[in-house]
């Protein structure tokens, strides 16, 4: 059940167009938006293969048309309880800049809401507190009607995940007391 697919490349930005389109979705009761040119596909939630020692907010990997794509749980990234699958849960596949390279990554979201157009004037800087996602992970707050949508900086939120360096958590019985500087 593929609802939506985007074949436009992210380069078609017309300098004069100050209005940009965003795809919005709900996560933990808040509405978030990502630039639609970064969205490749929306798919229903299927089986996710867990990857041992992966960053905490990475739920695992999925098969996306023969390619293997990691799926992130933004709720965990924001320090919230993990996303609990319902029948509305979707995976939004986006392009994320990882080490200066665009790579596909899935975002687990509670539900997809709508696409909307925002002019640059409709966007305010993120508040310094009060949102689940810290201000460093937001591009700004989009205003529409009487509501706000939190515009996510997906490169910041997902491109800068700490990589697993050593999959071994510290052995508990450290009788010898050897300090090893692993940040597990």
């Amino acid at each position: 059940m593929m609802h939506f697919e985007n074949d436009e490349r992210a380069t078609s930005a017309d300098a004069e167009v100050a209005r940009r389109q965003y795809l919005t979705f709900f996560l933990g009761g808040e509405e978030y938006g990502v630039p639609i040119l970064r969205v490749r596909q929306i798919i229903e939630l299927g089986a996710i293969t867990r990857v041992p020692a992966a960053p905490a907010c990475v739920r695992g990997v999925i098969n996306l048309r023969g390619g293997v794509v990691p799926v992130a749980d933004l709720a965990i990234r924001f320090g919230q309880p993990e996303c609990v699958p319902t029948r509305f849960t979707c995976i939004v596949v986006v392009d994320v800049a990882l080490d200066d390279e665009l790579t596909l990554m899935g975002l687990m979201v509670d539900s997809v809401n709508q696409t909307m157009e925002l002019a640059d004037g409709d966007i305010e800087p993120p508040p310094s507190f009060g949102t689940q996602a810290g201000p460093e992970l937001l591009l700004g707050m989009g205003k529409y009607g009487a509501k706000f949508v939190l515009l996510l900086d997906i490169d910041q939120a997902l491109g800068s995940l700490e990589r697993p360096a050593d999959p071994a958590p510290e052995p508990v019985a450290a009788s010898a007391g050897e300090p090893r500087g692993a940040d597990a």
């Binding site: 293969t49 990857v51 041992p52 019985a173 010898a176």
Partner: protein, 533 residues
């Protein structure tokens, strides 16, 4: 018109590269066999053709330079000038100039010449990141095309059989469809084999490129060395081939720098003043072996032990010869006392091992003090597919490389002892340590009533990996994992199962390392129980 010029230049660039290599390799060989008229003629022909081709595409400066080389070769041909070592050196230098001029001229052309190695970075023949192209025999492509055509026909028949009206009864129809499907399967395997075959390249051209390097290095070190090459026809997957270039280079440098002695020392030791290096390849079952042997001094195990003690390994004095040799491949270990121009920059054999590990290969060292050493690389035939042993743990599917699994047995329920997932199983009278993947990977849930144990072997190590159930063996097409996961040593890659789900391919050695690191009272990650051979 413009297209014609592009085509012309592309052909010229590809051919020029080949001719430069023929000239270079020919000259190096000529130095050893100055009387070989045929060889001289071949080098001359290459220079002549280069000159002609350069003139055709209007690169006059290159043609002139080639003409100079041609002239010098001609006077050697007519015995007007001797084929001396000095003359060869001079010609090689001119050749280097020609090569860099070629690169500059091509770079100035307003056409895209990516894919021609003449445009590679300055280290020429050893360009690692050049655009990857492969020449394929047209007959091979024809076979692939006809196979894929046959597959289409079989699929069409299958569709017809499945859609047919029930004239013969469902069972008959299904049986026929299954037969067609199996036929298509067989064709598909054939096609896959053809494609893999097309990716194979002989090691000869790569090996021959080292002749020049060895010659130049030996000269700069004041040593005399002859490199002989065996198994030139052995074929290797093009990706594997690209990735062993640098490790072999490293091994050669090591052998020249630390292995082969100076002519005086060799004479004093009663050896031929000319050192012998042998670079050979051979195929065995599903592996390729590449070996580099030298008849030099061999590894100095005393110095290795000394260095190990310096690095804080207090057990170094108790280690045997073989174990000491393995230490050489530990990260950061190098026996070079001073930093020489060639090797010994603190990166030595460990770099070789890391590269070969990444290819799922293994490195072994054999050495005899005073008599020489042999470094062996065992490499898989291809990187695209492995024979996998599929297992199930906590609802997930994992793939163990079949080559490291020796057997799979049922784990007697009375043996499940430890809570941390590790235990010891009495395996035919031997105490076999095992680790339960469920606990190791933190998958949660209780193990099933009947568990199984996959017996794995890596190097000298044998251990068990406790799994819920074996799912059988099959080929696994390797899919790369996101960069996000590159630090996870235990996961080598992923594949997609028949049901369309992702299954992780495990690195058995890293899984065992992880188990060792987790074990209570372990000495930590640098535990030297990690095997290499």
């Amino acid at each position: 018109m413009e297209i014609d010029r592009t085509l012309l230049l592309q052909t010229f660039a590809a051919e020029a590269d080949e001719q430069l290599q023929v000239m270079e390799q020919g000259l190096v060989a000529l130095e050893l066999r100055p009387a070989d008229a045929e060889l001289l003629a071949a080098v001359f022909r290459a220079a002549h053709t280069f000159k002609g081709n350069a003139a055709v595409v209007g690169l006059e400066a290159l043609a002139l330079r080639a003409h100079v080389i041609e002239d010098a070769l001609d006077s050697m041909r007519t015995h007007a000038a001797p084929v001396s070592s000095g003359a060869v050196s001079e010609l090689l230098t001119t050749l280097d100039t020609l090569r860099s001029e070629l690169r500059q001229s091509l770079a100035r052309e307003p056409v895209d010449l990516a894919g021609t190695s003449a445009l590679g970075p300055d280290d020429g023949a050893f360009a690692a990141n050049r655009h990857r192209t492969l020449r394929i025999d047209a007959a091979k492509l024809d076979r692939m095309l006809s196979l894929s055509g046959e597959i289409s026909i079989a699929r069409g028949r299958l569709r017809a059989q499945l859609a047919a009206e029930d004239a013969h009864g469902a069972e008959l129809r299904l049986a026929a469809a299954l037969e067609t499907h199996l036929e298509a399967d067989r064709l598909h395997r054939e096609l896959q084999e053809e494609i893999m075959q097309a990716r194979m390249v002989p090691v000869g051209p790569m090996f021959r490129q080292y002749q020049r390097v060895v010659r130049d290095l030996a000269l700069s070190l004041g040593k005399r060395v002859a490199l002989s090459i065996t198994g030139e026809d052995v074929e290797l997957d093009t990706t594997v081939s690209d990735h062993v270039r640098d490790p072999i280079m490293h091994m050669l440098r090591n052998a020249l720098d630390h292995g082969i002695e100076t002519p005086e020392r060799r004479s004093a030791a009663g050896k031929d003043p000319v050192g012998r290096l042998t670079l050979g390849a051979r195929r065995e079952a599903n592996s390729i072996f590449i070996e580099l042997s030298d008849d030099g001094a061999g590894f100095d195990t005393q110095r290795i032990a000394q260095r190990a003690r310096q690095l804080g390994d207090e057990r170094a004095s108790e280690l045997g010869e073989e174990e000491l040799l393995r230490l050489v491949m530990e990260p950061g270990f190098s026996t070079a006392d001073g930093v020489s121009e060639l090797s010994g920059r603190g990166v030595g054999m460990d770099v070789v091992r890391r590269n070969i590990d990444a290819l799922r290969g293994t490195v072994s060292i054999a050495s005899r003090r005073g008599q020489g050493s042999t470094i062996g690389l065992r490499l898989p035939l291809t990187l695209a597919i492995i024979d996998g042993f599929f297992v199930e743990v906590a609802g997930e599917t994992y793939v163990l490389p079949l080559e490291s699994v020796t057997e799979c047995i049922e784990l007697p329920s009375d043996q499940r002892t430890h809570a941390d997932g590790c235990g010891v199983h009495d395996f035919r009278g031997q105490a076999l340590p095992y680790v339960r993947l469920r606990e190791l990977f933190g998958l949660g849930g209780a193990p099933p009533r009947r568990e199984h144990l996959a017996i794995v072997r890596h190097g000298e190590r044998q251990a068990g990996i406790a799994i819920d159930a074996p799912l059988g063996q099959d080929q696994a097409v390797i899919k790369p994992l996101s960069k996000l996961f590159h630090g996870i040593a235990a996961v080598a890659g992923s594949t997609i199962t028949g049901s369309g789900h992702v299954a992780l391919i495990l690195d058995v050695a890293a899984v065992l390392d992880l188990a060792v690191a987790r074990a209570p009272g372990s000495r930590g990650v640098t535990d030297s129980s990690r095997e290499v051979a």
